[in-house]
């Protein structure tokens, strides 16, 4: 039952939030809501550690044999923790004045609910529903509070997302038609359809072109959600749906998929080198990181999969940290163009230190969280083919290069002489501090987190998924 609470609570508090009008009141409500939600998720994590598996099943549409069936295994719980933490960061980091704050936080909470449902669901039907449901709030957040080019970006985003979900629906229908027992050729077809859906969501090259614009145009809290959690939906789709319903397809085409993922690693890394906008650098670096995670999921080795799941968490943490820092800078200086930034280190050494730690985390420096994940993933890829590991390993080098370039452009140099004061608020200090500590903490003591996400936890197939 706690699972149902975890999923329904954000929706309910979202409804309340739509009726709030004042900036302070709605933020307070959103804060309360994300903390209660976080408590609920950690409580269910405790219950999970006692029982080993959480599930709840309630009949919903009996005529169609559709149940509200939720079940949580280790990696799903890991993703739920992620989608409890990231919205909390998004709410805490929101300080600027917005139009219609109540609706804004409502949509944010609604997105959280959809993500919780997606991660916890235990049948295909619910998976599809929550998949679609997560598109709507992000679309409205982009449309309502986006930047200047929001219309065009929103259209691109929605066309991509809906194309993906229609591919997903087609695949689900095919699985439904064949009653769960899909033939070999059928599995190839289903695999391709599902792959289109997840490749758009992750995103992988050549389905990525919605991503940089979306990152750039969305409000920072929305970007946190999109980069931190929404992109992980695709990876979860691979684990939860693709490998389960089209295992033969995965066996036959894993090389090609890994190839595509490596193309997006190299493509993303090299384009990140030449971007002139803070958020676009993050977007392309995300493209590269997500490519690496997708590739190692398809390596089929336990190290690769474990590393990938671990990295989902650490990437979320790092990218949220980067976006938060970007937001702080944007609030003070009013720009995120790299050419107009510089010299911030002298104004705020604390920010500069946090920035450095986050960067080290995201380039996989030893003793940070990125190191653990990337090493495991490269191990996994190496055992498939050494060439894959070498090509993917290039991303570390390129990553170090573009991240250092970013650091230099933002923090070092002479920069603008009339920079304002960077007086960080207490919530910003605490939030960034937490991020910094957990990046290092996860790097030094990765074992508890790795236990949490052992690959054995998802090998058992869930027969109820075919319903």
């Amino acid at each position: 039952m706690i699972l149902l609470g975890v999923i329904l609570f954000p929706f309910l508090s979202a409804i309340v939030s739509f009726f709030l009008h004042s900036e302070k009141g709605s933020k307070a409500w959103a804060l309360l809501s994300v903390f209660i939600e976080g408590f609920l998720v950690f409580f269910s994590a405790y219950l999970y550690s006692q029982a080993g598996y959480l599930s709840v099943e309630i009949p919903w549409i009996q005529t169609l044999g559709i149940h509200l069936h939720f079940g949580v295994r280790g990696f799903e719980l890991w993703m739920m923790i992620l989608s409890a933490v990231v919205p909390a960061m998004a709410v805490v980091s929101s300080s600027s004045k917005r139009a219609n704050p109540g609706s804004y936080y409502g949509l944010l909470l609604g997105m959280q609910g959809a993500l919780m449902g997606l991660f916890a669901c235990a049948n295909l039907f619910l998976f599809y529903i929550f998949w679609e449901l997560s598109i709507l709030p992000s679309f409205f957040l982009l449309m309502g509070w986006g930047g200047l080019r929001k219309e065009k970006t929103a259209v691109t985003y929605v066309v991509y997302s809906l194309a993906g979900s229609f591919a997903l629906l087609a695949g689900l229908l095919y699985v439904f038609m064949s009653g769960g027992q899909v033939s070999v050729y059928g599995q190839m077809g289903v695999f391709i359809l599902f792959f289109i859906a997840v490749a758009i969501k992750i995103p992988l090259w050549p389905f990525h072109s919605w991503q940089p614009d979306t990152y750039e145009q969305t409000d920072h809290a929305t970007t946190m959600m999109v980069a931190g959690v929404l992109s992980k939906m695709g990876l979860l789709g691979i684990l939860k749906v693709m490998l389960l319903f089209a295992p033969l397809g995965a066996v036959f085409s894993s090389d090609k998929v890994i190839g595509l993922a490596i193309v997006s690693i190299l493509y993303g890394s090299s384009l990140a080198l030449v971007q002139g906008h803070f958020k676009r650098v993050i977007a392309y670096s995300s493209l590269a990181h997500m490519g690496l995670m997708a590739a190692s999921l398809f390596s089929g080795t336990s190290e690769g999969i474990q590393g990938s799941i671990f990295q989902m968490g650490s990437h979320a943490l790092n990218v949220v940290g980067l976006i938060w820092i970007g937001h702080i800078i944007y609030e003070r200086t009013g720009t995120l163009k790299l050419a107009e930034l510089g010299g911030i280190r002298s104004r705020s050494p604390f920010l500069s230190a946090v920035f450095l730690v986050v960067i080290l985390g995201s380039i996989g420096f030893p003793l940070t969280n990125g190191f653990v994940g990337e090493t495991l993933m490269l191990f996994g890829l190496y055992s498939v083919h050494p060439l894959f590991a070498i090509l993917a390993g290039l991303s570390l080098v390129l990553g170090a290069w573009y991240m250092m370039r970013l650091f230099q452009a933002v923090m070092l140099g002479k920069g603008n002489s009339n920079l304002p004061e960077f007086n960080l608020t207490w919530s910003e200090r605490i939030g960034l501090g937490v991020i910094m500590v957990s990046i290092v903490g996860m790097g030094i003591f990765p074992q508890p987190f790795l236990d949490f996400v052992t690959p054995s936890s998802f090998k058992e197939s869930d027969s109820s998924c075919t319903q």
Binding site: F18, W60, I61, Q62, T63, L64, N100, S103, Y128, I129, E132, L133, L136, F139, F140, M143, G144, E151, A154, V155, V158, V159, L162, A163, F166, A170, L173, F176, M177
Partner: protein, 445 residues
């Protein structure tokens, strides 16, 4: 029978509305009457005579029609008293109630003559109501066009009835299976007559003009009511006729209808025309349910009809509210709606998303049921055509979702009358109810 009698009495009260005392009681009495009319089904259920059969189909479809008219009566009443500051348009309300009586009869016949009569009782008030904005030329033109084409459709239906009688010697559909060519021709002509009402290609040419010309409150009500009534009648017709007679023709019509409707809807600039074409496309999806008729067909067509009605009513209520605030019903009029009224925007988004078939809104379940029906019938070609059509539909519906959040033409907030607010809230509640408890509608058959 009770329901028809009650509605007739209500209609007469409405006709005399201007001169009756206690005018305040009109709306509550009408709504109470609708509730009683629906309860009336339970007293005589099931009733089968040579002329009528009040069965589960008539009860469920009739219930949906009563809800549609009930909501529309509330908004029309609110609009009337809001705009003129005086009398609500009692005659309009009376005609709406009469047409609903026709709609109820369209799903409660067993004799073909009753079906014909029911179609006429539904149609005649519609012709008048479409032209009820006498000061607008488009309204008059639409009324005349609808009347002329509708008369031809009635003739076609009557001709089909005559041929059917000639072929089988009976006016009862289930009585004799028409294996004669004459009887088959009669069946096809009758289906054509009903398909005209439903707005199925190639009998669709009236739909865009009439939707655009009619007063917007009437358009929404009419679009919902006629579609539910026509598909209820079709359900009763095709269930008792052998598939080989009409199967191929209906399949062709279904494919043409959804494709043409969707393709033409993409490039419309007028909201009402766009929704008219999308309504045509929805008629195509609903036709798919009869290929072939199985035990899930009735459930599917019923749920689809109900969800379409809900979405359409919501959409047209919002368009009406927009027009009331001084804008013309173009797609651009939606711009800035979010800043002007949030509740109305919420209703708009939910309705459009439901029509587009985005989960978990009722329209999604409706489309899923249709897809599952096509899957079970093993028409793989048809499945892909349907699928592509859904995709096109989603594309143009999302354009409609986009606009309320962009910069607007007008900044002043939208004001609603009390009864309009009530209508909006009821629509919102019904939509959420259908999301949470779709089982309620799905398990009746």
């Amino acid at each position: 029978m009770y329901s028809i009698i009650i509605l007739t009495v209500l209609g007469i009260i409405g006709m005399l509305g201007d001169m009756l005392p206690l005018k305040r009681l009109f709306l509550p009495v009408t709504l109470l009457g609708f509730a009683l009319a629906w309860l009336g089904y339970f007293f005589e259920f099931p009733m089968h005579t040579s002329l009528f059969s009040f069965d589960l189909i008539s009860m469920c479809f009739g219930g949906v029609m009563l809800v549609i008219t009930g909501i529309s009566v509330i908004t029309v009443y609110g609009y009337g008293s809001f705009k003129h500051g005086s009398e609500p348009p009692y005659t309009v309300l009376a005609l709406m109630i009469f047409a609903t009586a026709g709609g109820l009869l369209m799903v409660a016949w067993s004799h073909l003559m009753m079906l014909f009569l029911a179609i006429e009782i539904l149609s005649i008030p519609l012709y008048v109501l479409v032209g009820s904005q006498g000061d607008r030329k488009a309204s008059q033109e639409a009324s005349l066009k609808y009347f002329l084409l509708g008369a031809v459709a009635s003739c076609i239906f009557l001709f089909g009835m005559a041929l059917y009688y000639a072929g089988t010697g009976s006016f009862l559909l289930g009585a004799v299976h028409p294996h004669s060519l004459v009887g088959s021709a009669g069946v096809l002509l009758m289906i054509a007559g009903v398909c005209f009402k439903a707005g199925v290609v190639p009998f669709h040419s009236w739909v865009p003009d009439v939707y655009e010309g009619a007063p917007t409150v009437i358009t929404g009500w009419m679009a919902a009511l006629v579609k539910v009534a026509a598909f209820g009648a079709l359900t009763k017709m095709v269930g008792s006729l052998s598939y080989s007679v009409w199967g191929l023709e209906v399949m062709g019509m279904a494919v043409l209808t959804m494709t043409l409707g969707n393709v033409l809807a993409v490039q419309q600039g007028s909201l009402k025309r766009l929704l008219a074409y999308s309504g045509i496309a929805h008629a195509g999806y609903m036709l798919l349910v009869f290929l072939p008729v199985t035990e899930t067909s009735i459930t599917t067509v019923f749920f689809y009809g109900a969800s379409y009605a809900l979405g359409t009513l919501g959409v047209f209520t919002v368009i009406h509210i927009l027009e009331q605030s001084g804008l013309s019903a173009t797609v651009d009029a939606l711009r800035g709606l979010f800043k002007r009224n949030k509740t109305v925007t919420l209703l708009w988004c939910l309705s459009v998303l439901s029509l587009a078939g985005i989960p978990p809104l009722p329209g999604f379940f409706a489309k899923l049921l249709v897809l599952m029906h096509v899957v079970k019938a093993h028409h793989s070609g048809l499945l892909w055509v349907t699928f592509l059509n859904f995709l096109v539909g989603v594309y143009y519906y999302f354009r409609l979702i986009l606009y309320p959040f962009t910069g607007g033409l007008s900044e002043e907030s939208v004001v609603l009358s009390v009864w309009q607010k009530v209508g909006v809230v009821i629509l919102l509640i019904l939509t959420w109810g259908a999301v949470l408890f779709p089982e309620f509608l799905l398990s009746v058959f």
